[in-house]
Each structure stands twice: as structure tokens, then as C-alpha cells.
Symmetry: D3
Subunit: 305 residues, 6 copies
């Protein structure tokens, strides 16, 4: 296995790479490096290396379906290529990595185009945490000349909301910034809620940054439309088979650096938002109900299973 793979896996585990997209891209790059460095001659040797790499990358983080799907897809391309010799197979890794990244980019553009249509003039858009897909969508709407405001939460413990706020200000969008627990007071004046996603389950639920489930409940209470913006490949095929997504817990230090010794600090990174609270999933296939995600996946990405 290439050194690059080990390094990448390590960086993912240590949270030096963050965000579903970035983790997927890092894994793809690691596969590319492996393809470049490999000395495998036969298909058998090469496939073994790929499988080892897959195992290493999968072990680096609990819940990263986009990365896992990227790896699955590239390996499936190699498997189905019919090629037998190491070099030829390595080339397929390179070309399909390339393709995957291009598809990812196209998805992002499509999502921004589709989602931007939901932003109308004078809207107040509420968001939580930071999602590059969400901010891309909003910058698209801004480009199209729409006038809107954004309310964003600070998103403890790591304050990703500050990144969102800065990006919105850079776009010239009027931005209001609040602590997480003030969300209910500001939901009243929001017109739409848009958040990203880390994973989508076979039942149509969404895993996203801790606090998203509460935001969804607040939107539901206040009868505001709540949309999730996500590439279809955030779908986690393991959930079809009954696996329940494991919610990663991060370091207590993120929450309180010099906490009293005996204090138990719990720091789950994600929570689950039930499909009932989600008006629609805005993905590259359009705006669909979360209940239909697994059927759409089956139609568009049968290789995923």
C-alpha cells in the first residue's frame, strides 16, 4: 500500500481533513497516488492493493459515505474494466478518479442552480454550521441578482458558523449571527432553512452537524420550509442492510479546554434529522422527497450496493 494512503488515512482520522467533500477528495488523491506508485503486475496483485487501501481508508473515520462511495465506485470501475495487467488497471484508477471528481463538481453546480431557484427576493435564509454546497448555492443566487439575508448560528463547539458568516459577508449579503440556542427566537422571521448533510440513510433520514435536528424541529414548529442540500452519493448503502450510522464523538477539549477533572464532557459531532421534518432534498437529480432517495439511488447508482 502506498505511503500516501497511510498518510491520508492518518490525516482523516486526526480530523486534519474535514467536511464530507474534502475527505472524499483526499481519499481519491490517495488512490491516485497508489496507482502511480504501485509495482503490482497482475490484476490479482493490484486488486489486493486496492482492497487493502479501501480497508485502511474506511477505518479512518466512522461515518463518511461520500468518501466510501468514491472508493467503491473507483474500485468497481477497475473491476469491471476487463483489463488484466497492473499498468492498465492503474490507468483506470487515474481516469475514473478524474471522472469522479468531475462528476462531483457537476453535481455541486447542478445543486446550486436548482436550489438557487428557491431563493426569492427579500427572503431570510436560515442556515446552521458551514456547508460549501450551501454557500455555493447562495453565491449562485446572489450572482443571479437576488437580494436576500442570511441568519447563521455560530455552531459550537468549533464555530464553523463563523466561516459561513465570513463567506456571506464577502458576497455582500446582509448576515445576522447568533448563538445556537437563540435559533428559536430567530426562526420566526426566517423564510426558508437550508442545511447540508453528511449522510443520508435508506429510511430517508439525514445525518448532519450536531444541532441540525433541533433546527429542523424548530422549523417544523414555526412552519418554515426546511431543505437539505446534498449530493446523492452522500447516501450510505450500509443503512439499507440495517447498519445504524455511528455518531462520531470528538475530543472534549473542543468543548472546554480546562474542564474540571471529573466532568464527563460528551461531544457528538452529528445528529439525525428525521425525514418528516425535511421538505425536500435538493440534489443533482432535482428536489425530491427524502423518502424517495433510496429509490433514486438504485436507479442512478446501482453499483453502490
Amino acid at each position: 500500500m502506498a505511503q500516501a494512503v497511510r498518510v491520508t488515512a492518518e490525516r482523516i482520522r486526526k480530523l486534519e481533513v474535514q467536511g464530507a467533500r474534502n475527505v472524499a477528495i483526499a481519499a481519491i488523491k490517495a488512490l491516485e497516488a497508489l496507482a502511480e506508485e504501485t509495482s503490482a503486475k497482475t490484476r490479482k496483485q493490484f486488486m489486493k492493493e486496492l482492497k487493502d487501501t479501501q480497508a485502511t481508508l474506511f477505518a479512518s473515520r466512522a461515518t463518511e459515505p461520500l468518501m466510501r462511495n468514491a472508493v467503491r465506485w473507483i474500485i468497481s470501475q477497475v473491476e469491471n474494466s476487463g483489463k488484466e495487467n497492473g499498468d492498465a488497471l492503474a490507468k483506470i484508477v487515474a481516469s475514473s478518479s478524474n471522472q469522479f471528481l468531475k462528476n462531483l463538481e457537476t453535481s455541486k453546480e447542478l445543486i446550486a442552480e436548482i436550489g438557487a431557484k428557491r431563493i426569492r427576493n427579500n427572503m431570510v435564509v436560515f442556515t446552521h454550521c458551514h456547508s460549501s454546497t450551501v454557500t455555493h448555492l447562495l453565491s449562485k443566487a446572489k450572482e443571479e441578482g437576488k437580494t436576500f439575508e442570511v441568519v447563521c448560528t455560530e455552531t459550537r463547539p468549533v464555530f464553523q458558523g463563523r466561516i459561513t458568516a465570513k463567506e456571506m459577508l464577502a458576497l455582500g449579503v446582509k448576515t445576522t449571527f447568533i448563538v445556537d440556542s437563540a435559533a428559536r427566537s430567530f426562526m420566526r422571521n426566517a423564510d426558508i432553512v437550508i442545511v447540508g448533510a453528511d449522510a443520508i440513510t435508506s429510511e430517508g433520514n439525514v445525518i448532519n452537524k450536531i444541532g441540525t435536528g433541533t433546527i429542523a424541529l424548530l422549523a417544523h414548529e414555526a412552519r418554515k420550509p426546511f431543505y437539505v442540500v446534498a449530493e446523492l452519493l452522500k447516501f450510505d448503502p450500509a443503512t439499507v442492510c440495517g447498519e445504524y450510522l455511528q455518531i462520531e464523538e470528538r475530543s472534549p477539549k473542543e468543548v472546554w479546554k480546562d474542564a474540571p477533572e471529573k466532568l464527563e464532557i460528551r461531544n457528538p459531532a452529528f445528529d439525525v434529522t428525521r425525514r418528516d421534518f425535511i421538505h425536500g432534498v435538493i440534489c443533482e437529480e432535482g428536489v425530491i422527497p427524502p423518502h424517495a432517495v433510496s429509490e433514486v439511488i438504485l436507479r442512478k447508482h446501482p453499483w453502490i450496493f
Copy 2:
């Protein structure tokens, strides 16, 4: 007007004194100081000084019913005393201040005794922010030999949850500490929610630290009993007359010290929890439905109006 009054009013305005109880005690002390220093000879002169003091203290903070009720009560005692000379009236200020503080202490004890009965062995108690009345209740339960756990939120922006956590650990109670937006994930395992209050309205709603309304909604969603612990004198008589409690906004610096320039940071200190989410108000008169608070007030404290 005594110097002490001006100083106290200033300290209250600058948030150097915090917490409904502490603000009320500071105001009482200021009245006592006034009574000591006054050179008023006649009832008329003395009442004028008292009324000026009242105006100054009331202007120091938007929503502080306990403090206001303390001042109202002491002045009503003076008014009803029938005394005419300055010295005699000053003595009444002193004695009724004393009485008020004693009553406040008794209320706190009664509330702790009553509320502690709701804590049963092996319970997980969820709380938000820091309330000395809540922690007193829990220490009472601990004294009585009960075993329970506490989950507390950090309570951004000023992290009062850390005070709660420290006090609980000092009592020897197992304590779990989470960011505010993880509340929904931990509500599932809670057995009871207990919070304090800054004010109670004529409709039976409760004003408390920002985020309390969300905690109440989460408790409601998860069918967990949600109790508010409060002295009856947190009732705000102005709400009977239709005044709506003004929600104080504090400095943006509390939220983000070096925020980008154009960013609008909103920092409301309180929110409203509707009576429908409140199982009971634990007060010195017992456990009552929030809907009945104004009737109980009328029965026990008719002077308040």
C-alpha cells in the same frame, strides 16, 4: 438620593450584578443605605426620595420583576405604616428590607424542599444555564441521600453552564456537560428537566435565559416533564396590563470578540417559554400549573398590583 442608589443602579446596568436574586438583593441594600443616609424629615420628603430611588432602580434593567417587586413591597410597607416622621419611616425601610430578604430565603428553602421530592433515585436531571434556586434544590436532594445524575448545557455565550457543572461536581453528583445544540440528543435519556426563571407573565409564560424555550420544546417532543423553579415574586405585574416583557439584548462582544465589521450579531439574553410546555411551576406555594400563577399571586400578594 443616596450615592449608594446611583452606584447600585450603575452596577446593575453594567451587568456587574447578575441573576434575578442578586439584583433584587442589591436593590434592597441600596434602599437600606438610603434609609440610613437620608436627611428627610417629613413623610413627604421621604416618600419623594423613595419614589426617585424606585425610578432610578427600575430604569437600570429592562426585565427584573423580582427586584421591582422587592422595591414595590418595601415602599408599600412604608406607605401603609401610618408613620409621619423621617426617622420612623427609615426604620420601616430597614425592618421591611430585612423581612423581604428573610422571606426570600424561606422561599428558597421551601422550593428546595418541595422540588427535591420530585428527584427520585437514578434519575437523570437535565438543566440549562445556572440558577441558584435549581442548584439549591439539587443539593437538598443530594443531602437527603438521593442518587441522581445531571446533564447541563454550556449555555453560550457566557458559559453559565460551567458554574452549574462545577457546583454539581462539588456536591459529588455525576455530571455530563454538552454544547447547547446537543440538547436534543441527550433529552432522550433525561428523566426530568428543571430550569430557573427570570420572570413569569400574567398568561403563565416564563422568561428565562436564551435557549430555554428550545429546551422546553425538546422536552415536549420527548415527553419529559419540564419544571420551572421560581419564587412567586418573579411574577411581573406589568404583564397583566398588557406590557410585553422586553427581551434585553446584550453586547455582541459576548458572542464573538473580533467579529468581521459588517456582521450583525444579535445577542438576546432571554426567550419566552409558553405555558403549554411547562408541567408545573415549583414555587413556595407548592407545585402549580403556570396557568394559575396570576390567581395565586392575587391571593398571596395583592399589594403587587
Copy 3:
């Protein structure tokens, strides 16, 4: 029994007099006329006339608690007067009628003052049907220099919403007018809902113009505060004893003049709004939860039972 009583009862029955206040005033005037015209010499004779009048007036309309309470109160004043001769008793009718009307006027003013405090600048106020108490409250708010908008429904079948719209325009208030079934679409932008009441039950429910229950449900769905504005004497003491308010059905002609022959047109004039949907009752005693109305009545108007 005076001719005026019979005429008044007839006019009430034929709906020539409408609105709880107007019906009450008409009944009081009829009592006054009776007192003027009566030839009763003894207390016994006079009381008989009064009781007959009461029976006639009560029979004129199914659900008119304000009118009934007016009659009850005047008669109770006569009964408790200790006077024995017809003339003296007639004078008591006159003076207490006078007093009742004055109290009614005072209540209206108090309600307007209290309620106007709930109107803040830039609010959108949603209302249904026409209530002189509601429009008086809004004109008070306007007088106080507040800027607000009103959305009002047309209120089929008799279009009382048109009266509301005209009164609001006359005040210089920006007014939006919609059909009843568009209420849900416009609730989204409302900030507060304020309606009148025809009757309040012992359980705290409110009887008002058909459609009010739906408006309340829509406000609840959209988390908008829903207030009922009503004099306490709209309380119906018969409901304490289990009587269920009978919902009056009016002429099918109001709904469709030249309807097909076999069509069954149902035209209930009122519906019931459950207390759970009512944030507060704004009455002359302040803003109170609907659950407390019967206790407040007992305290303020014990003669009602």
C-alpha cells in the same frame, strides 16, 4: 310587560340587532323603558314584571351571555335594594342600567388600553369578522402613534369583514382583505391574531363567529400568538352547570339566495375555539389565560351564579 320589551325581543330574534354589545344595550334599554312605563305598585308586582321581561329577552336568542348577564345584574340590584315600592324599584332599574352601560364603556376603554400595548410598530395584525372591541383597541394603538397593518377576512356569509376593512381604512391603517379560505396563506406573515368573542365557557373555551376556530388552528400551526378580546361579562354561567352553548343556525338565504330546492344549506353562526389555541384573553382585568376566566369571574362577579 312593556311594549318596548316585546319589540326589542322581536328585533333581537330577527337579527335586526347584532353583536353581543348591541344586543345587551338593546335589552338594557328595554328594561329602562319597562321601568318608565310600569304601573306596578308593589315589589311583588314589579318583580313579576321583571322576571317576565327576563324570560322574554332570554328567549329571543340562544347564546347571548352579555345580554343575559346585563339583565341578571340589573335584576339582582333591584332584588338587593331592599326597596318595596314600585317607583323606588323602577328608579333602581334606571340607575343600575345606567351603571351597567358605564361599566361596559369603561371595560371597553380598559381593554383597548391593555390590548394596544401588544401592538408594536410594523406588526401585521390578523383579524376575523368585525368586533367593535377589536377595532377600538386598534384605533387606540393608532392614536398612540403606532404603525401597523391589518389583514382581515371577508367573513362569509354576511361579509362583516367589510365593516372592519372600512373602519381600518378610515383610521388610515394599511389594510389587506382576503376571502376566508385564503387565511392560511396570509397567516405566514401575520405577527399577531386578535379576535372578539360572543361567549366564554366555564372550561375557558370561546364562542365566536363561525371560522374563528379555524383561524385559531392556523395561528397555532404557524406559531402566531392568538388573543381573544372580551369583556369578562361575556362569560356564560350556564356552562358551569354543564349546559353546552347551543350554536345558533341562521337562515340559508344568507348563504345562497336562489339555491336549488333540495339542497340542505347549513349556516351555523358560531363555532368553538378551544382554550389550548388561545394565548390570552385580553379583558378589563388584564391579559389572562383562558383557563383562569371562571376563577376571575367568581372573584369579581360572584352575583353571576
Copy 4:
């Protein structure tokens, strides 16, 4: 202490006496027996006997507020009588026992009269378990010539619903009988739900036969009015002080006679119905919201505390 007291307490403990009314009556009879048999000469001696009796009776069953209030009332009458000699005090026990039973009877009649007004022709009345107050109300409605149907659940584990069914058939009322878990299917066609109560708490919640909370939730889901029929003296003053009503668990044999050995059978006799599900409490003071019960108690029965 009289032998009768010990025997009665034993019979109550063994569930040989059942139903809140019957238990209260048995306790009163025991007090009467004590008064007859006592050899106490002085007030002090007599009061001691009474207090011992109270302790013995209170210990016989966990949650029996009506019985406890009966005992409290009779003792308070003795205490306030001013009499000093044993015989005189014993007579007061006799007369006040008598009075209490008479009041109990009057309450039952009043409740039946008030509640029967809620039964209208062609209604389907849904009830659960057996309550003599409920069946008395229904027999009253039948006497008044009303035509209605009853749906009753069998009420496992002891099948009290069979008693209700038989009583209804005896009245000539069309009766439908279902298993408890079919309640949701039949709620659809019900017009009103009426159940009894074992206890009412200071917060306005009702303790009644296991399953009542579910029936209330089903009524709420189906938007059917849910009424609790109860004498005010079912109020438990201990709940004001924070005591939580202990839910009695009965013998597993009631559920499954020859159960497998290791099986844990849980057989709670009661559950809690929250005030939000209760449209009204029909008591001797009228139809009141459950939220107001503690205020009404305070007004009518101040001796209870």
C-alpha cells in the same frame, strides 16, 4: 384503637374494598366504630386515638386521596369543636362522619345533574373501566329521556368494564364492548369520552385506572372531548408539596395465573393523564378546566392543607 379500624385497614390493604368511594366509606365507618367503642376520657386521649387511626388507615393503601381527605376532614371537625371530653368528641365524629357521607352523596347527585347535560341524543359515549360516578351520570341522562349508546373497554386485568357493560344494559342502553387495544378503532365513532378519577394532582393531572392516559391520547388524536368526572375531594394535597403520587402495583396473578417462572409481570393499577388532554373536570362545582382545580380546592376546602 378499635378492632374495626384494624380490620378495615386490613381489608383495604388486601383490596377487599375497592373504588375510591368505597374505600372512603369504609374508613369513615371505621372512625364511627372507633367513636362508639372508645374509652378515651380526655381530649388528649381521644385525639391520640384518632391520630393513630389516621396513621393506620393512611398506611393501608398508597394513593387514596378521597379516603385521606375524609379522615382529615372528620379529624379537623373534632379539633375545631372546642369540646374537651371524650364522649362529646365521639359524638362529633359521628355527626361529621354522617355529614361527610351526605356531602359525598350530594356531590354525586350534582355531578350527575351537571354531567348529564353534556349527553345529547344519539351520542356515542366512550368510557373505560368502571366508575360509579360515571354510570350514575349516565343513568341520570337516561332518566331524562336521552337516547345514547355506550362503548366500553373490558379493562384488563380485572375486567371492570364488564360491570359497566352490565349496568348499562340494565338501564336499557345499547352497549358495545371491546378489548382495550381496540379503543383506537372505536374512538372514531365516539362523540364524547367520560371517565372517573382516583386522584387529582396540584398540577391538574388525573390519576385513574391503567389505560386512561392512552384513551385520553386517542381522544386527543381524534379530536373528541375527554371529560373526567370526579368529586373535588379526590384532590391530593400532598402533591402541592411536591410528593409524586406513587402508582400502586398489584399482584402479577391478576395478569397471568400460571405464568412461566422467570417472567417479570408488571401490573401497575393506575396511570397519569396530563391536564392537556382533559377538556374539563365535571365536579360538584361545575365543569372546570383541570388547571383550576387547585384554586377551587383552596377556595372551597381550605382545611385540606
Copy 5:
């Protein structure tokens, strides 16, 4: 472009043609007229004429998916025909127009057959506005010998409910007619709610006559099954791409002819009913959950995208 197209577009814009079916049929007839009159010789010329016609028809009304889908389908048939000469292509317009109308008729029959199975004897069917698909379904049920009643709302501002009422009476069905805001009072006795649809979105929401969303909420509150009857081709493919259906506003004159000058009358013709309130969509493919509509469309009508 044929004169007929311009005339039709004009009539659609002026609302002289109404109802999704009728508008679609008018557009098809216009296409047929164009095909008859065209002087286009080549495929290129003919396709240009078709595309112009499409643009003109699409511009005539904001939200008419059935008409748009009709035009899309006919044009797609022409495009895929492989024919090159004008005459041949014109014939395809004629034959496919014919086919579309026949399919529409078949769908209507299928929907009536499927839906009629949901009508059982003695049911009370609640409907809103007028939908020929709904009344066809009901007439089918009547033909099958079923006995049922209908409750219909008048449906302000244009009183389409009167058409429904007349059609039902003509069928010999007992019909109750109410104002829109009495819906909540009559929902209690309904057994099923059936309404039509103007459009279905990719998320599974339904656009229909103003007031439908409220009826759905009332049905939900009262736990009554709420069905939407619609041809699958009411699906709007633009919603997949994020377009939000624009809600057409009609003339204020419809609401109030001689309204005061400054009054703002808002007259939205439609509203949105969220999928959560819809038990099932009864379409030509059977009874399906609204969440599945977009998947079914994709399977049956891939040409739509």
C-alpha cells in the same frame, strides 16, 4: 402560427377557459388547428411553428402542468417520428392529439373506478371547490349503487362549490352546503375528504384551489382520510429543477366589486397542500403515497423531463 393558437392563448389568459382539463383540451385543439392550417413544408419549418406555439401557450397562464405536459408530449411524438415532411408531421400532431385526449379520458375512468372503491355505504364525503374528476368518481360510486352524502363548501370567491352541489343533487345524492369557514364544524362528521388538484410537485405537494391546504389541516386535526384525485400528468416537471410554482392572483373584483379605493384585496387562486396531510393520491396508476409521485412519473412518463 395559426390564428387559433393566438385566440386560445388569449382565452386561457382571460380565464375564459378554466379547470386544468379544459385548459389542456383547448391547447390540444389549438395544436390540431395549427396542424390543419400549417403551410410548413419541411421538418425544420414545422418544428419552429410548434415551438412558437408552445411558447405562446405556456405564456398564457402561470401554473398549468396538464396543458404543458399535453403540449410537451405531442411535440415529443412529432420529434421522435422520424418523418421529415410537413404533411406527415401534421398528421402525427393530429393522431397524437387524439391519442392524448383518449388517454386523458381513460385516466379519468380509471381514477373513477379506483376511487369509487373507497366510497362505502353511509359515508359522508367532504369536498372543496369543483373538480370534474371528483364528481365523476362520485357519480361512478352512485352508479354502483352506493349510498352516501356529500358536504361541499361554497368556495369563495367564485362559488364553484355551487356547481358541485348542483351536480350532486342531479345524481340524487343528499348534499349539504356550507360557507368555507364552517368547514371545521362539519369535518367532525365527515368520513373521507376528496379533492382535485391543479398540479403536483416533485416533493409530493399538491397545488389546488385556495382553501385546500386549510381543509387538509382540518382533516388532519380530525383524523379523517384526505385523498387527492389527479391524473399523473398534473405533475409539474419544472419543480424537479427547483422552480417553485407561482401562485396566480386573480382580479380583486372577484372578491369585492365596489371595494373602497385604498383597500388592498389579495386574491390568490391556489394554495399548497403539503404531502404530510395527503393520505394518498388516487391516479390512473392506483392509490399511491404523494411521496412516490415523482418516481412513478419517471417510470411511466420519462419523456416529461
Copy 6:
């Protein structure tokens, strides 16, 4: 028609065979017997016998989709076989019966494997009635070494919960047993609810043992995940066409053996659980939202229609 068919149909009608699986297996065995005994020579003769058998079996019980789908599938295999002679066709019955039973077994295993992943250590699993699929799933989880508890209801009137309790004890699982109406009290401590199903409709609703709908509502109230475990072939294709599943009513004797004569005992065997209460359907295709079941069926079992 074979004697075996008549006997089997009779046994099914008399409820001597119970449970969806067992009924399906009995019907398959009857078809096999028919194939063995038949004297049909031609395809036409054989098909007639099969169709008669189908009619007889379908008539034996109202709602048995699994059995009906088994019969449908075997007949469709015969129809599509292209064989013409009786013997050859009979062999196809034998082989496809065999195949169906094998598939059924595989589904059960798959469901157990998938579902067992949802059981985590220390969970409290709540179930209702007895379902061999559910208990197989739990025994699988136990085999995998997981520690969990089970709460099961007795399930009146036939006490199938006792079978569940015995099976769980046999597995060595700690089991708590309660009466049906105590479910709400124990839902509080449950972590997951898992029940079986008798049928699934085209709208995604589930028909199961009476009481399941209430359990689902209770789980919803308490925010506990509610899963239905079912083979896809429990889907009832008739519901697509609008047929509403008829709820079978069983003998009143099951409820009360020696009931009073005039008492109407209603004993519906099943009720409907709406899709909104179902977190997921655990089937052989994975964990899917109930809304998607009809689409999955169409993809996997197109022959069903």
C-alpha cells in the same frame, strides 16, 4: 379440485391455521397436493383447476396477501412456462411451490440479519402480539451475543403475547409482560419498538394485530423508533386498485365467553397503522421507508399486478 384444497380452505376459514406465514404455507401445500392428484390432461383443464383452487383459497379469509401472492406467483409460473401437457404443468407447480417456500425462508433469514443490526446492547425492545419474524430477528440478535430486554403486551383477546414471552424466556432474554393498556407507561423506557405485519397497502400503511396502531401512536408520542418487520410479499396489490383492506371481525366468544345476551361485542382482529408512525419497514430488500414499498414491489415483483 383436490380434496386437500377444500380441507385447507376450510381449516383457514375456521382459523385452525393462523399467522400470515402459516396460512401461505398451507395454501402452497394444497396446490402441491392438487398437482399430485390432478387428472387434467391439457393445459386448459389444468389451468381451470388452478383457477378454481385460487378462488376457493382466496374466499377462505378476507385479508391474507402473503397467501394470495403465493398462489398468484405459482400460477403465473405455470402460465409462463409454455408447457402444454398436464403432467409437465403439475411439475411446475411442484417446483415453483418449492421455490416459493425457499424464498420465504431466505427472506426470513435476511430480515433477521438486517434487523438484528438495529439491536444494540442494553436496549429495551418493545413488541406487541406474536410474530415469528420478529422473534426470529431477536433470536438472531441473541445468537450474535447481544444483551437486551423485551417488553411484551399480553395481546387480548387471544393472549398471543404469552407465546412471545415464552419464546423470549427460552432464549434467555429478560422479559417483562404487561396488559395492553399499560403500554403507555412502559413506552417511556423502551428504546425501540418492533412489530410484525399482516399486510402492507399501496399507500404504505400497515395492517397488523389490533392494538398496533395505538402502540405506534404511543411510540410517536414518546419519540421512540417504531419498525415493522415484513416480507415484501405481504404487500396487497388490491390496494393499488383502491380496494380497502377489510378488517376481519372474529368471534365475540374470544372476548367474553358468557357475556350478557344483548351485549354487542365487537372483535376486530386487525387495525391500520399509518405510514407516518413507521420509521422503517425491515424487509428482505433492507430497511426502507413505508412510502417506498409500492415502488420496490414494482421493481422486484412486477408479476404481482
